[in-house]
Symmetry: C2
Subunit: 492 residues, 2 copies
């Protein structure tokens, strides 16, 4: 078998190689790391049709989606290349000495972010390119200066292997230390466990189920030396639909929401699984329009049989709950295809039954009917942590729901106004991460430039001779980066 | 009894009050929070002699030290007031919309740091003012916008009570919501446990023992919804003494190092408990000089009987290890006084016996004699995570130890050149925090302005009307703060 599980010995060897690589890699200038990341992006593009066809075969995702995902992946790599080539991301802070200060002299102290060491990345089922082998976790960890070991997702091992070969070749071509990027296979939990438990592993990136992410988080915290786990796990991304807006445009809103529910057969972490609204004529019209849209939705083949079965099971479980009614069903398909479904329940039913707040990974959404504004607030107050929450409402109307908005902000990493949660922009202001169980650490994002912050920690240098300081902190500012110097931002 | 343990009902009530306060406090402008922190600083100063005398009685710390610590405490409060009054600490990032971008329009996204909710702070035994009731944890959490519940350290409950009354009065005077600061007592572990386990608690600050900090960390991770614990626990702050420097100035170095070992009866988290050096004439002369200095050291009364007993026990345990020799002892005192001691061991003895790497909290240090540079590297490679590591060496000499320096940087949060680890400057570039077991989270600092980052998380606002954005993110930049706008730093 080509993709045999890594043995404990192989895993130990990989971590030792990674640690050896770290002692060189951590000190490389940003410009060098940038050439590596850019070479990786070029190599991925150069795989051309082979990569797309392999991924299509393994994931059932359509060509256009995979071509887009490839652009997102090479885009990540180039974005992080640019970030580290420029250099200011390291948050250089300088406080110069005051040798004559009384009662004690003030020493010279300079601080910057430094990489933490070998990072283990678990490939994600739903993003065979952008959140797998050369995905956001890998790109940000390498940019930070951390060697990476990727465990390929078993559902797309061949795709992962192709990309891994590109990364290894790019590292070699650009003079990176051996072991800076490594790739292992593992379909048993034991492989993941050994990777997380290895004493040289310093952090873990994961995108997947709540059960999987939480298991890795628990392992990591039970180590003799606990390490951070950045697991993106479970989010139902509530959309709050305000009455006035529903009254004014039930049709347009339904079209937008239905498209978001069924996008990519609902296999996005930002899929809207919960619709909150106040009962009334607007909601009635919206539900009718949504039912029409969902009824037209063609079933899509899901990523793999396991995901399709899980979708069917979780959907059936939700529908089996007391007080849950089916509002609309999409067109039926094969066993591996995900048939869209929208259900509804009264607010008190939802609040009393925790099962209804669980993620149903696929094209499913639950409408929660609230009697009034007060009940809507109560439901919002009971929500678990989310990646996103969305509000659809007229500006004048939203102004009357500021308390609700403020409450929703406590529950999520990103608040969207009059949009849909699917579609995650890659930029400095993106926050993709939210309170538990959306992620294991709401203080970090897995998308956008700030994703690099997951794999670094600050180190202060006190009273260092200039010659021994990293370039980022040298008095002459050779990298010409923005630095906080004696509490003022400056490039000088 | 005046300082009775808080009951489970009282703790539940306190957290509910804190959560209610949060809904108001989180939205207050920085200038309002600043007036509260400044009023607290004024109130502490106004306590005058009462506070100092109470703390002297409870902690045995001398007046001058407590007067200094009070200045540090009010300094913290004013520093954080200034930080939030200015406002740029929230890391505002703005990416403006590109409605015509193909294939999909780019939405307007704006991100900033927001407070996470009620924070529980455990008072520290060794800093009755600066790391207790109104200490760095409390000041930074309040500055962030998080209500705080302090559990007083039982060893200085009266001091804590005095400061708590000041904080409550300052909150009331400056119009803060009720419950923004609360104070409870607890000498049993059950109180701490109930505080950490309460579902409304969002983060924990702690300074103390490894056993205590690790227990809270484990509790927090086993919650249904895990929360971050910032525990500063155990560090032996190694000093590496390079040969050339020891040869040139054994006396001067010994005076400096002895003073750092005995400062405050060794009751600092940055106390140097480990001295690493290569055998030779320089080391011989240094040890003789150090023995002379330590021999003169007067014993100081320790913070409380428990700490004194723990010091005696841990010191005896270290001395009972095979291959450990006493090099110098300070003057003897009473049972509650800490008698200084310096011991030594060969490098292989140290590396083989993990007991020798444990913290002995008090005026104790262990010299590790290395045969050569290579063995010194080996010892450094085996070190646990530390708050600090220090190198004493001539600039030309240090240049030959860059690999060692790079290794030491993997082990600590702060590297000091030709200084001592005691004395922690409060400034933006300070890093007080290091890899486990020094702290539970090396990515954060408990000293300096960045301490505020422990109690916040980023939230992104997508496609929000300007009127509903926080001031920090409004298009007109009403606070005139530095913001990263379309990847460029600007105040416009």
């Amino acid at each position: 078998m080509a993709y045999a599980d890594a043995t404990p010995k192989e895993i130990d060897h990989a971590l030792k190689e990674a640690q050896a690589a770290f002692s060189v890699f951590k000190n490389l200038p940003g410009k060098k790391k940038g050439t590596f990341l850019r070479a990786a992006a070029e190599g991925i593009d150069a795989l051309g049709k082979t990569l797309i066809e392999t991924a299509m075969r393994e994931t059932n995702l359509p060509e256009a989606r995979l071509v887009g995902e490839r652009a997102r992946t090479t885009g990540h790599l180039k974005m992080f290349a640019q970030l580290v080539e420029e250099g200011a991301w390291c948050e250089a802070r300088i406080d110069t000495a005051m040798p004559n200060r009384a009662p004690t002299p003030k020493p010279d102290i300079r601080k910057m972010l430094v990489p933490i060491g070998p990072v283990v990345v678990f490939g994600a089922a739903n993003f065979p390119l952008a959140y797998s082998t050369a995905g956001g976790d890998t790109a940000s960890a390498l940019a930070a200066g951390c060697p990476v070991i990727v465990k390929a997702h078993p559902a797309h091992a061949a795709t992962s292997q192709l990309v891994a070969e590109v990364l290894v070749a790019a590292a070699e071509k650009t003079g990176m230390p051996k072991g800076v990027f490594q790739h292992v296979f593992g379909s048993s939990f034991a492989v993941g466990q050994a990777l997380v438990n290895h004493p040289l592993t310093r952090a873990v990136g994961f995108t997947g189920s709540l059960a999987g992410g939480k298991a890795l988080f628990d392992l990591a915290n039970q180590r003799a030396e606990p390490i951070p786990v950045f697991a993106e796990m479970s989010s139902i991304n509530p959309i709050v639909l305000l009455p006035e807006s529903l009254r004014k445009d039930p049709e347009g809103t339904a079209v937008k929401v239905a498209a978001s529910i069924t996008l990519g057969v609902g296999q996005f972490c930002t899929n809207p699984g919960l619709l909150l609204a106040i009962e009334g004529e607007g909601l009635q019209k919206f539900v009718a329009a949504l039912a029409r849209e969902i009824g037209k939705a063609a079933p899509g083949t899901m990523l793999h049989q396991g995901i399709a079965e899980n979708y069917a099971t979780k959907k059936a479980q939700a529908l089996a709950q007391l007080g849950v009614a089916v509002e609309a069903e999409g067109l039926a398909g094969t066993r591996q295809q995900g048939q869209a479904l929208v259900a509804s329940a009264a607010a008190d039913t939802f609040m009393e039954n925790p099962t209804l707040a669980e993620e149903v990974f696929g094209p499913f959404s639950l409408i929660v009917r609230c009697k009034n504004k007060q009940e809507l607030m109560q439901v919002a107050g009971k929500l678990h942590g989310q990646l996103t929450t969305t509000m659809i409402g007229e500006e004048a109307e939203v102004a009357h729901y500021q308390e609700l908005l403020s409450l929703l902000a406590e529950k999520a990493g990103r608040l969207i106004m009059n949009g849909v949660p699917t579609g995650v922009e890659v930029c400095p202001s993106m926050q993709h991460g939210g309170p538990f169980p959306a992620t294991t650490d709401s203080r970090f994002t897995s998308v956008g430039t700030d994703a690099i912050k997951r794999f670094v920690r600050p180190v202060a240098f006190q009273n260092f001779p200039d010659s021994l300081l990293p370039d980022e902190l040298k008095e002459s500012n050779p990298l010409k980066i923005w630095r906080l110097r004696n509490s003022e931002w400056t490039k000088n």
